[in-house]
């Protein structure tokens, strides 16, 4: 039988470069698959535009005040979108371009300037809150997944962390946020922290599940066998492979955080004045829904578009990071 096997292998093989598929890094592959989804691509461009708008909004309403959201012009209240200011407004109080692009509210403030300022607040609340929830989620989930079997007194680390996660999930989050906001000093940072600290549970479960699966992968075993330090195994071999589903849920998490902030502002518990946020513009406008519908619809539409864009991008990421679509 020995002769049979050796007869099959006449020559020592060597791999030629041309029998491999075209070279493609994981990033190129990701871009190629993501581009196929037109809606996700559209969502991505909307978000890119929004990012520019938000940063510009911060800069142009607070640092170089081209659009002042705080100027009160009582004679000009409830002007509809695209109307010009009345002649008796002082030149310094006129909006840029001499036009109320989105109309004015009940105090004659420029809604466009307020929306512009609010875009930064809404987006930063979304990103910071999700950043906090990712941090908590990855650390707790990573611990539960990697060191889960370590005993701590009567229970394992895994039991401790996951039962705490379950307990946190049992709270009706929105009421928990309302209570916390009512007790803490009102500020934009409080809102960010509270939203972040009440939304990490999903991430924790994701990361734990990924870590449990990855720990059994042969390349992690190989890394152990090579005597690599534990930190390197975790951060070089496990974390990068565990993050794909986390990013997907984070994108959708940003949308949820923006919605939560809007809802809080709508109820009057949100970011306190003088900051304009989409939620409190909406809230202020609800009293005039028949007289000045733009006060209600413009922020509503903005929230809708942003949340939709985040969801589309999330869906697109899910598809593009799905290993089954990879070229093997």
């Amino acid at each position: 039988m020995k002769t049979v096997i050796s007869a099959q292998v006449a020559t020592k093989p060597s791999v030629r470069a041309d029998d491999l598929p075209e070279h493609e890094t994981p990033w190129q592959e990701f871009v190629r698959i993501y581009q196929k989804d037109r809606l996700a691509l559209a969502g991505f461009f909307v978000l890119l535009a929004l990012l520019v708008i938000a940063v510009a909004g911060k800069a142009l309403t607070e640092w170089w005040v081209l659009f002042d959201p705080e100027v009160v012009r009582l004679p000009d209240k409830f002007f509809p979108p695209l109307s010009s200011p009345s002649p008796d407004i002082a030149a310094s109080d006129r909006p840029l371009g001499g036009l109320y692009l989105f109309g004015t509210d009940e105090l004659g403030r420029d809604v466009f300037a307020r929306m512009f300022q609010g875009s930064f607040v809404s987006l930063s609340v979304g990103f910071v809150a999700v950043g906090i929830s990712l941090l908590v989620g990855i650390v707790l989930g990573g611990f539960a997944g990697y060191y889960g079997q370590v005993k701590l007194g009567v229970m394992t680390v895994d039991t401790l962390i996951m039962r705490f996660t379950d307990a946190m999930m049992c709270f009706p989050t929105f009421f928990l946020i309302l209570t916390a906001v009512a007790l803490l000093p009102p500020s934009i940072y409080t809102i960010m922290f509270i939203i972040g600290l009440t939304s990490w549970m999903g991430t924790t479960r994701f990361v734990r599940a990924e870590f449990l699966a990855l720990r059994e992968q042969d390349y992690v075993t190989a890394a152990k066998a090579l005597g690599l330090p534990e930190a390197r195994i975790i951060f070089r071999h496990m974390v990068p492979n565990a993050l794909a589903p986390v990013f997907v849920s984070a994108t959708i998490g940003v949308a949820t955080a923006i919605l939560t902030e809007s809802a809080l502002s709508f109820l009057g518990f949100g970011v306190p004045p003088p900051y304009a946020t989409w939620g409190n513009i909406l809230s202020d406008g609800k009293g005039f829904i028949f007289d000045a519908p733009w006060l209600f619809f413009i922020p509503g539409l903005a929230i809708f578009i942003v949340v939709l864009a985040f969801n589309l991008v999330g869906e697109g990421l899910r598809e593009a990071l799905n290993p089954k679509l990879r070229r093997r």
């Binding site: 099959q8 292998v9 020592k12 470069a17 491999l20 493609e24 992968q217 390349y219 190989a222 330090p229």
Partner: protein
């Protein structure tokens, strides 16, 4: 025999029991006796084939020796050092000299690392080489295993199964080990690729004077590569002999049955097929006495109660050992 001074690896009384937990407080309700009292040794430059059915504990033996799993009991000596008594630091140093090659070339390479960084990682971490010297060593390793140095910037998914297995071998060789556990290293490859890899392993063995523990369920493969073969059944060794002795004069009824089931590429060959009744019993409740007795065609009364002792067949220097009452 186990005290042989030339042995590179000496395993004595190795046991690995997995707890089965059940109930509200996860109490241990039973033990899966995956490996039960296994003793063998391996000389420098020698290949020991470890064969047996799925689930008989072959992989557990391999991983326990490298301490990728903590054995329940027993002793493993590598170059005279007791592996199981090493602290984390010494263990990392010792692991440079003992490596593992995995069955599945798809899960044994980190999908987010290039081939170059996979092979160079152990060299960098153990500070063996850096800069230009590192690059040269990686080039050489890749050429040794029949790949081209210019493939370094590519990712694992761009390679075929056989090519990936070569990368896995290059990674295992990087630290210049003395002993490699090949855990079903060719089982996932098709026959012609498997033959190429086997030849590669044999060439490397000659060049670097390596010792292999070659775990497989394929008798043709061990016959081609192994100097000695150990047959395992349900967590225990049934027979150990040189490849020649084992194939020509198998003693244990289980070995005889295995060999009779092995296809022979000769249509004229007459072979008497020994068909074993029943299935492999669960390692949760292994049979009393000889573990093979419920399926053994030559079962005797005391096989059912008395664990068979080790019996030397022929002169001790032949090292033909069998655990069977038939020969006592």
């Amino acid at each position: 025999m186990t005290e042989s001074p030339h042995s590179l690896v000496e395993v004595t009384g190795l046991q690995k029991y997995f707890p089965v937990r059940s109930g509200l407080f996860s109490r241990v309700s039973a033990w899966v006796k995956a490996v039960d009292d296994v003793t063998f040794h391996l000389k420098q430059g020698e290949t020991l084939g470890l064969v047996g059915e799925s689930g008989c504990g072959k992989t557990t033996v391999g991983r326990s020796i490298l301490r990728l799993m903590e054995p329940t009991a027993g002793q493993v000596r590598f170059e005279g050092k007791d592996i199981l008594a090493l602290g984390p630091k010494e263990l990392r140093q010792t692991r440079r000299r003992m490596q593992i090659i995995f069955q599945d070339p798809y899960s044994s390479l980190n999908p987010r690392m290039t081939i170059g960084s996979i092979v160079s990682e152990p060299l960098k971490i153990h500070k063996i080489a850096k800069g230009k010297a590192l690059q040269e060593q990686v080039d050489q390793l890749l050429m040794k295993v029949g790949l081209r140095p210019e493939h370094q910037s590519r990712y694992p998914h761009e390679f075929s199964g056989g090519q990936r297995q070569r990368v896995g071998i290059a990674r295992a060789l990087a630290l210049n080990p003395k002993f490699i556990v090949c855990d079903e290293a060719v089982s996932a490859l098709d026959v012609s690729i498997a033959a190429q890899i086997l030849n590669l392993l044999r060439d490397l063995q000659k060049e670097f004077h390596l010792s292999y523990l070659f775990i497989t369920h394929d008798l043709n493969v061990v016959q081609y590569l192994a100097d000695r073969i150990a047959v395992m059944y349900l967590g225990k060794f049934a027979e150990v002999a040189t490849a020649e002795d084992l194939f020509n004069t198998p003693k244990h009824p289980y070995t005889q049955a295995l060999l009779s089931a092995n296809p022979v590429p000769d249509p004229m060959a007459k072979s008497e097929r020994i068909v074993l009744p029943g299935d492999v019993p669960s390692p949760l409740h292994p049979p009393s006495g000889c573990r093979f007795h419920p399926r053994c065609p030559k079962v005797m009364d005391h096989c059912k109660t008395v664990d068979p002792p080790l019996i030397q067949i022929g002169p001790p220097e032949n090292g033909h050992q069998v655990w069977c009452h038939l020969y006592s």
